[in-house]
Amino acid sequence: MKKFLAVRLTKAAITIWFIVSLVFILTRVSGDPTQWMLPDDASIETRLALRESLGLDLPLAEQYKNYIVDVFHGNMGKSYYYLKPVGELFSERAAATLKLAVTSFSLAVLIGVPLGVMASVYRNTLLDRLTMGFAVAGYTMPNFVLGILLIFLFSLKLRVLPSSGYGKPINFVMPVLVLMVGPLANIARLTRSSMLDVLKQDYLDCTRAKGVAEWRVIFKHALRNALIPVVTIIGLQIGTLIGGMVVVETVFAWPGIGSLIISSAQNRDFPVIQYGIMICAIVVCLTNMLVDLSYALLDPRIRDNF
């Protein structure tokens, strides 16, 4: 078990390092951030001085080496735009993103799984077809389209929900809705198909023959088996969620990390971009590792291989 963890952590670290390096290089070849930092009529000397102060005049390899050394010392850099240390910037906005993420994700799982179970138990009935129809709609519709449509309907036409803002529970309604629709649809769909496979199994009949009540057969015995592949999907939805986060925060002007990353990409705020992508990479890698571990937790047949 320890060996497994050590190997996976090493692999994760290598992946993260690779991604960060890639971003580092891509940002620096994409253009000059100093362009917008100074007024258009600034002199060339001023620009050069600014570049020097930011360390952008050094050759790429040396910049990279300095960056890696800094990272290992915990120095993530200062934002060009906000002039604050990157870490501070992110922690200010982290709360907003986390609240949105946790709410959306929990709802996606808490609604998606039971919905999938119900659809499988009542397969080919109206409930099943409605649920699956909604699921298809959910993951095919791009979330920015959905976001804008919802704003149009509820903010402009009906005037019941605010189109942006942060702080009050009512601000959460539309962003959460938009963010959770995709993952919910996927989770429901996959729970349903996994349950359909499990519902055919002999051991459920054996359980019924013991006299166990039907709802327990479904939710304790069947679901426990059906969840095994679903957990992987849930884990992968984190990736979808991160992507969706960026869009949703922009559409609803949510003061979170997503909108920060987007705006810093537009502004070529290198330290922020690098730090943001690194965070995303760490989150995804950790989630994948947790998903693999949960497999072992849920399926005793796999546990033996550790």
């Binding site: 002999d202 051991y203 009949d205 023959a209 013991k210 006299g211 009540a213 015995h221 426990r224 047949r301």
Partner: protein, 334 residues
């Protein structure tokens, strides 16, 4: 027949399969009785309805395409088919339990064997956790599992086929049921393990005076385990009687054909007898003898109407127009 003696009375059980276009009479009028401690075997080939008939007794059917269309299953005089599901659950596992065919797929892979045995105990008794755990160990000992204290935390896939089947037997016997239905309990096992398991079932049945309904296609197994035999074909019982009667005084042509196909039963033969043709698909309603198209003794009458069960000697019945001189058995099977 003294009604009080019969623990179980199945009367004219009918279970049909429904698809969009057809109705298949999987079980089309099966009747038998079971006294305390008695063992009855239901034999037949695949598709004859024996498994469906057994499952119908405790209503363990896939309701999306199966329905019990008629008949009664009297357990101590009470028709359990009419019970609501939650009351049936009180009988399943406690008074009537079941042993299944393929032990690996019958056990839930994600729960320990101790958990799965404990579940049936917790469900049907008021025992606390510790007592249940103790009972589980006792049960494992009873079914002959070595080092039971250690095995309690094992998962099904860690055990061999024979051990898994013993676990299933432990689950079935945990609450001392009055009747055990064993659906091909040894078909998936090696012959030496099969012998051990059959020994175990025999011993436990005698010790606890349980009734046994054994479903199998193996005539050797049924000879060993059962006093009475029902031979099924196409959803109906074609011959019924004691084991000795069925084997030594065979009446129905299908039974005769079945026994003749067993290699080695009739000494060394060059060529085995085989029943011509193959089992047809039956749809409701069936208006002729189900076996007549393959029967070497068929007469005109066989194609015109389905014969009822005729009693030839006491307790020995045959569903064949050739045996019409016997007393016709009423539909109740009494």
């Amino acid at each position: 027949m003294n009604q009080v003696d019969n623990v179980l009375e199945v009367k004219d059980l009918r279970t049909y399969y429904y698809s969009k276009s057809t109705v298949v009479p999987a079980v089309d009028g099966v009747s038998f009785t079971l006294k305390q401690g008695e063992s009855i075997g239901i034999v037949g080939e695949s598709g004859c309805g024996k498994s469906t008939a057994a499952r119908s007794i405790i209503n363990l059917l896939d309701r999306s395409y199966t329905r019990i269309e008629g008949g009664e299953v009297l357990f101590h005089g009470q028709d359990i088919l009419k019970l609501p599901l939650n009351e049936m659950n009180g009988i399943r596992g406690k008074k009537i339990s079941m042993i299944f065919q393929n032990p690996l797929t019958t056990l839930n892979p994600v729960f320990t064997v101790g958990n799965q045995i404990g579940e049936v105990l917790s469900l049907h008794s008021n025992l606390g956790k510790k007592e249940v755990a103790g009972q589980v160990v006792e049960l494992l000992k009873m079914v002959g599992i070595p080092s039971p204290e250690a095995r309690v935390n094992d998962y099904p896939h860690q055990l061999s086929g024979g051990m898994q089947q013993r676990i299933i037997i432990a689950i079935a016997l945990a609450c001392n049921p009055e009747i055990v239905i064993a659906d091909e309990p040894t078909t998936a096992l090696d012959v030496t393990i099969q012998a051990q398991i059959l020994d175990l079932i025999c011993d436990l049945q005698a010790e606890k005076k349980m009734g046994l309904i054994l479903i199998t296609h193996n005539m050797g197994v049924v000879v060993r385990m059962c006093e009475k035999i029902l031979v099924m074909y196409g959803g109906v019982v074609v011959e019924q009687g004691t084991t000795r009667d069925i084997f030594k005084k065979t009446l129905h042509p299908y039974t005769g054909g079945l026994l003749a196909t067993i290699p080695g039963l009739n000494g060394d033969q060059e060529e085995l007898y085989s029943i011509p043709g193959y089992v047809p698909k039956f749809t409701y309603p069936v208006k002729q003898c189900r076996f007549c198209n393959r029967c070497t003794h068929a007469i005109d009458r066989c194609r015109m109407a389905e014969p009822p069960l005729f009693e030839i000697t006491d307790g020995h019945w045959s569903r064949c127009w050739l045996h019409q001189s016997g007393n016709e058995v009423s539909r109740d099977g009494a």
